[in-house]
Amino acid sequence: MSKPRVAIFDFACCEGCQLQIVNMEEEILDLINLVDVVEWREAMSEQNTEYDIALVEGSITRPEDEERIKEIRGRAKILVALGACAVIGGVNKLKNRFDLEDVRRYVYHDDADMPHLQTAQTKALHEVVDVDYKIPGCPIDRKEFSYVVKCLAVGKKPEIPSYSVCVECKMKENVCRFEYNEVCLGPITRAGCGARCPSNGFWCFGCRGLVDDPNVNAAKDVMEKYGKTIDDLKHRLALFNTDEERAHA
């Protein structure tokens, strides 16, 4: 069996998810033993237009990005969205709450008119092209990444949890953040991170996006039980889940 050829690309992002791959340290040798990495700007000089699996980090924020992701989609047999920016648009979607022209001027000042600084509404990859698999999170979880790569290498469908962060939080025997009067997005956020934030004393920020069928209406009602308002919930959702916050406003 020949090794699947893998190319890693990025769009608007901090490249932190790719850094997680670099951070696999000794396991990275296992990775390159299993797959043939043919392009990866963050870690190697070679480029290649022939690949089976495209791992794509970042969200689509400029008109020319749309063309580029469509080209990648056309070449790849399997396209995997890597991290919050690619899967749900991530923090980049905060831009969509403002006038795009204002945003561009605010960020680039005098350079705002340069042609490569055109801007558009931020989109997650699936809003532009078909995405086969999603590895959520800000950043991605290395263990989950390894699991998905191994599944793809043998032609098995990877299963990303459909349940909420509460499941993993309870397994870690954490005290519920609501008991500390915090608004935690755990009950509506997709698990798979091992409840990393609640296990380290923070509420869940919702970086993995919402579960398949989130009970956002319940979340609103529950706010009252804890002396919170719907605005408290919406503020918390805005960071990673701007679309959801708007859809349920």
């Binding site: 509460c166 397994m171 025997e173 529950v222």
Partner: protein, 342 residues
């Protein structure tokens, strides 16, 4: 076998002696809550704890547990991860739950992974000294216990009664010097404490008799409460995951990097989770939140009693506290469906 009596200092010496020889796990303070964890000194043991966040079930059925290692060409080997320990301070309702798991895991297909862990653990139960906020064990007949444990500790004044019931219990009390016998008066005091705990551990009052629950539920399949409560349900599974009698698990395979070998493990699952009932062909036979919500209360109050003759809820109240939406109180639900029926 025998009932001994120790003061706090002697009890601490016994526990410290055990720690030198064995892995000892007990109820200890963790932040502003309590949880079971490995002890390094008797001073960490808090027999006055009210409730542990997770039940001691986690030592018999851990959140994740390897079952086999396999090769893709077909060969496999079982993995057993039994972890010998002395488990200190198990409350009566949690002891009832462990005995229930013993029954369920040995029925039909004997679960060897469970049994090996179970056999390696010596259980020192402890009568409750501090009632937790939501406990209702008094209503479920689980506030005190007479069987299942190896040793039962009961605090009487400033002394502990040490009721040794099994060979395993005997084994961990040997070699620690003479322990004086409890007197008839001590045993009378213990009887009074048990009677008191039956009354105190009732923060929620169940109106229907426990034995009536299967029939009551049988008549309440279409009760509006299931729909009503499920409106607020996140399907987060917290009630399942903190429950001492919930024992459902999922089985998953994970490959090694060579992708020719791997391991199969089990991981806690819960009937409130949206995908719990998905079967082949992606059919979900409990797709609606209200169906899942109803199932949990049927499971505890009807299906388990019909299977093994005891109720599936031991009244610890962990689900009451753990539910973010505050809809998971079994007492409230059973009382509500019993309205107008008594």
């Amino acid at each position: 076998m025998s009932i001994k009596k120790l003061d706090q200092a002697a009890l601490d010496r016994w526990v410290d002696g055990l720690i030198e020889r064995k892995k000892v796990v007990g109820a200890a303070q963790r932040g502003d809550h309590f949880s079971f964890g490995e002890l390094t000194s008797a001073s960490e043991l808090r027999l006055d704890y009210d409730m542990s966040i997770l039940p001691p079930k986690k030592y018999f059925l851990p959140p994740t547990e390897d079952l086999i290692s396999f090769r893709r060409d077909g060969g496999f080997e079982s993995i057993f991860e039994e972890d010998p320990m002395v488990l200190l301070g198990v409350h009566p309702y949690d002891m009832f739950a462990i005995s229930q798991l013993d029954t369920l895991f040995s029925e039909d297909n004997d679960d060897i992974h469970y049994r090996k862990r179970r056999e390696a653990i010596t259980i020192v139960a402890s009568d409750v000294q501090t009632a937790s906020e939501d406990v209702f064990a008094g209503c479920m007949g689980t506030a005190t216990i007479d069987h299942g444990f190896d040793i039962l500790l009961t605090k009487i004044g400033d002394q502990y009664l040490v009721d040794i019931r099994t060979e395993k219990g005997q084994a961990i009390t040997m070699g620690f010097g003479e322990m004086p016998d409890a007197t008839d008066d001590d045993l009378d005091q213990r009887e009074r404490l048990w009677a008191e705990n039956q009354k105190v551990l009732r923060k929620h009052e169940l109106r229907p008799a426990v034995g009536y629950l299967p029939k009551l539920l049988g008549e309440s399949y279409d009760h509006p409460i299931w729909e009503e409560k499920a409106e607020l349900c996140f399907s987060c599974g917290s009630c399942n995951l903190v429950c001492p009698t919930c024992y459902c698990f999922d089985v998953q395979d994970e490959l090694n990097w060579d992708v020719t070998s791997g391991h199969r493990y089990r991981i806690w699952d819960g009937c409130m989770l949206a995908n719990f009932a998905i079967v082949a062909g992606d059919h979900n036979f409990r797709a609606a939140k209200s169906e899942r919500f109803r199932h949990r209360y049927f499971r505890k109050g009807k299906y388990i009693p019909e299977k093994i003759g005891q109720t599936g809820c031991v009244g610890c109240g962990r689900c009451v506290s753990a539910c973010v939406a505050k809809i998971a109180n079994p007492v409230e639900i059973y009382n509500r469906i019993a309205e107008g029926k008594e």
